[in-house]
């Protein structure tokens, strides 16, 4: 009986495991190629490295980090992604507080505009914003991308936080009001501590989004290697290195390293963020 059940369920397991392998193998090829000697990468398939004799080397990483400036662009990605995550969350939290617990004329209309802004293609803003940043002398600098990512991340951040903060029980706010707590105290002592889970989701989401962004970086700091992040650096290498797969794979893997760690450690929050607001522009 038990074997019959297992046999009947065999196709199910084969499909699920097969699809999982299909999803993993391309990435595995990248990882393995990045630690193979150049001569072997260009002459044999990466899968041959799985069988002895084993030839592995870290020289590709040394080379892309030093000779191809990946060390610089890794730091740039950090300098871009951290402020571009922190700034919009605080700005959005203030706005979400006002939108959920303060009464004012035009509140519904304003939130509708924010829902609409969720899907507006960034392309609609690139040229005027680039001109503005040029005018301010900011294009090609870190503040340019911080400001752009902050603004572009705001609709989603406000949407997510408003839904959460607006869903907090009214009694809490009434009790705080009776105790004489002003808005400052309400925000920093009540709303912020209670919002930690959704702020965490949002932070991971925004961090990964900014870290993985190509378009915004390309347009506002693409021409400045001393500021450009890893996505821009790797896409330039794809053009300049062409067939040097051992270097391309090493550079690409470096750019994936931090997001993968963030994802594996904080997956729960990431998934929660995605479920909370399935529409990101």
């Amino acid at each position: 009986m038990k074997t019959a059940g297992l046999l009947r369920r065999l196709p199910l397991h084969l499909i699920v495991i097969g699809v999982c392998l299909l999803w993993l193998i391309p990435a595995l090829g990248l990882l393995i190629s990045s630690v193979r000697p150049p001569r072997l990468v260009s002459s044999t398939g990466w899968w041959t490295a799985l069988l002895p004799p084993f030839h592995f080397a870290v020289e590709n990483y040394v080379e892309v980090l030093n000779a191809y400036g990946m060390k610089r662009s890794f730091l740039n990605s950090l300098f871009i992604a951290i402020p571009s995550t922190v700034i919009p969350i605080i700005v959005a939290a203030y706005a979400a507080y006002a939108l959920s617990w303060m009464r004012f004329w035009g509140r519904e209309a304003l939130f509708t505009v924010i829902v609409a802004a969720l899907v507006v293609p960034l392309q609609m803003t690139l040229i005027p914003v680039l001109r503005l940043l040029n005018g301010l002398g900011l294009s090609g600098t870190f503040p340019a991308v911080w400001l752009a990512h902050t603004a572009y991340g705001l609709p989603f951040a406000i949407y997510l936080l408003r839904n959460f903060i607006g869903g907090l029980p009214r009694d809490l706010f009434e009790a705080a009001h009776i105790d004489g707590a002003g808005p400052l105290l309400v925000f920093f002592r009540l709303i912020l501590p209670l919002s930690v889970p959704s702020v965490a989701s949002l932070a991971i989401f925004q961090f990964l989004w900014v870290w993985n962004d190509l378009l915004v970086a390309l347009v506002y700091v693409g021409g400045t290697p001393s500021v450009a992040p890893m996505t821009v650096a790797v896409s330039n290498l794809v053009n300049s290195l062409g067939q040097n797969w051992q270097l391309l794979t090493a550079a690409a893997f470096l750019s994936m390293l931090l997001p993968l760690i963030v994802f594996l450690v904080l997956q729960r929050y990431f998934v929660r963020g995605i479920l909370a607001g399935a529409i990101k522009g």
Binding site: V16, V115, P121, Q123, L154, M230
Partner: protein, 325 residues
């Protein structure tokens, strides 16, 4: 180097401190006003940083782009709808439109169908969490990295040379007399090859959302259908799919938006060569290579117009949600 570290510290500590300082400042100032005024002003002061950023970087630029699309390359002369006429008649643009349509249909269908099937299948195995993590993993990495991963899978060497690309090597092993194919160049396969990369990335997203929806279907309903003798397929077709319809709509509209805005994959893997152009990449080229800001703006507006139906649907759904609150 130490200079940048210092700047970084200043930014990471300084900017949040400034932001907190802003809240303290506005509340201190508000306290100087009579209560009536306080109530009127307070929301706008808490909203001000967000509004300032949204207006400067999103709303004003969008309106400006609309105006620029009616002007010449350097935005000096009024040219009417010439940029739009050019967009809808030039051969390169028509290819881009065709490809975006292909993206829209293939990408949306495949991600949603795979996501739905995998949600149902993974629901039945004990290692569901692990399987979902694996399938979701590509969502964490950039399209640039995904582009490199898949460019390597699609790598082509002429017949006789060792194939180091996984796809050609596998097919040559499986099919006798198989001629290796340059997947990113061949007109029959290259668009599909690009779309598959995006499907690899986004299926996990659809899976996670649809899987959450699936868990929301009451077990009694499924049990009742099984007791009534429904086959697993009937269960899927007549119970699961209709129950998930709202979730499927949300997921599908998100995929539609992505299909319209597809850029990174194309930029990294082919840069629109060999007839793989898409609107967003064309717009980037008009902006930086041709330097025709009027034409680039017109393309942005066309892209925007294509997203309007989704925007309207989102607003409508949001209004319904609000009514239920």
């Amino acid at each position: 180097m130490s200079g940048t570290v210092l700047t970084a510290l200043l930014v990471v500590v300084g900017i949040p401190a400034l932001q907190v300082g802003y809240a303290i400042l506005i509340e201190t100032l508000l306290r100087l006003l009579p209560p009536q005024q306080q109530w009127r002003l307070r929301p706008w002061l808490w909203l001000a940083p967000a509004l300032l950023l949204l207006v400067t970087f999103l709303i004003y630029p969008a309106v400006n782009t609309l105006a620029l699309s009616l002007l010449g390359p350097d935005s000096r002369v009024f040219v009417g709808v010439r940029n739009y006429v050019a967009a809808f008649t030039s051969p390169e643009m028509l290819i881009a439109f065709r490809n975006n349509l292909l993206w829209l249909v293939l990408f949306t269908t495949l991600t949603v169908v795979f996501g739905l099937l995998l949600a149902v299948l993974t629901d039945r195995v004990r290692y569901e969490a692990l399987a979902k993590s694996v399938l979701f993993l590509p969502m964490a990495i950039s399209f640039v990295a995904s582009g490199v991963i898949w460019k390597f899978v699609y790598e082509f060497r002429p017949l006789g040379l060792p194939q180091i690309g996984l796809l050609n090597a596998t097919l040559m092993r499986l099919i006798p007399d198989f001629q290796p194919i340059a997947w990113l160049v061949h007109p029959l396969f290259n668009n599909a090859a690009l779309i598959m990369v995006a499907v690899w990335v986004w299926t996990g997203f659809c899976l996670v959302i649809l899987s959450a929806g699936l868990k929301g279907i009451p077990a009694e309903i499924l049990e009742a259908a099984r007791v009534d003798g429904a086959t697993e397929w009937q269960l899927f077709r007549y119970v699961i799919v209709p129950s998930l319809a709202p979730t499927i709509t949300v997921v599908a509209t998100t995929m539609v938006i992505y299909a319209l805005k597809a850029f990174d994959v194309v930029y990294v893997m082919t840069n629109g060569n060999f007839n793989t152009e898409v609107i967003a990449n064309r717009m980037y080229k008009e902006m930086f290579n041709v330097r025709d800001f009027g034409q680039a703006s017109a393309l942005a507006v066309i892209l925007f117009a294509a997203t309007v139906p989704v925007m309207v649907a989102n607003i409508r759904r949001f209004r319904q949600q609000e009514a239920l609150r």
